[in-house]
């Protein structure tokens, strides 16, 4: 094939790609968006709650442990 100038080359490249058809998603994406938002929320397991409760209990029973706990945070 002969050498093409920039304009011809641009057309040559463009012709290799069929035009994009369909400007809209095939379905409503909002439900997927909601799922993604929901998945990203931090979740606490029962074990986390047990740990927090134990910490709170320890602080109530032995307030002297608070500085030690804060130091280890």
């Amino acid at each position: 094939m002969k050498h093409l100038n920039d304009e011809q080359f641009g057309k040559f490249i463009k012709d290799a790609f069929p035009p994009v058809t369909g400007d809209e998603p095939s379905r409503d994406l909002w439900p997927r968006m909601l799922r993604k938002l929901d998945d990203s929320r931090p979740r606490f397991s029962w074990f986390d709650w047990v740990l927090v409760s134990l910490m709170a209990l320890l602080c109530l029973i032995a307030p002297g442990a608070i500085p030690g706990l804060l130091y280890n945070l």
Partner: protein, 172 residues
């Protein structure tokens, strides 16, 4: 309170309104870059996810659409970086045969393969400039770079493509 201000404050209903208002525009922009509808849907959701996370940085005095497009471009760019170079644009989704019969199927495949081998930044810019024929100003705004940078990237992409097509014996 204005819709965009409510969105900045994390109001989910305001976000839904903006999502429904702009999802088509965002999808349409992304599908032109990645040229695969399934991937474009995934990336549209990813774009709005990033938009929601970055809502505190949105300036309500500016266009939401332009901001969304810029994020969509970044998301598309990240996708292009993550996929293998050899992966061609989705064949099964390729539409009708282009009007120019002189460009044969085999040649078109090789051109697409050469195009897919471009560095992601050049590929993204060249897709919008050469295939979609979007104005340089619009591309520059979506990439957050000066128009001169867009021109330079297109120039470099064309140079690389010419070289590759010469190696393949497609151009002299």
């Amino acid at each position: 309170m204005e819709l965009q201000e409510r969105f900045i404050n994390g109001d989910l209903e305001a976000f839904e309104v903006l999502f429904r208002q702009f999802q088509k525009e965002v999808y349409s922009w992304i599908v032109r870059i990645v040229r695969d509808p399934g991937t474009a849907e995934d990336l549209t959701v990813e774009t709005f996810w990033r938009i929601y996370r970055a809502r505190a940085r949105f300036d309500p005095g500016r266009s939401f659409g332009a901001w969304a497009r810029r994020i969509a471009t970044n998301v598309s760019y990240d996708h292009l970086k993550s996929v293998r170079k050899e992966v061609e644009f989705s064949e099964e989704w390729m539409g009708e045969t282009p009007p120019d019969p002189a460009v044969r199927q085999d040649t078109r495949k090789r051109i697409r393969a050469a195009f897919a081998g471009l560095p992601p930044k050049l590929r993204l810019t060249a897709t919008l400039a050469l295939i979609e024929e979007r104005p340089y100003e619009e591309i520059a705004e979506s990439l957050g770079v000066p128009v001169g940078t867009v021109k330079s990237r297109v120039f470099r992409a064309v140079r690389i493509l010419r070289q590759k097509l010469k190696e393949l014996g497609i151009e002299q």
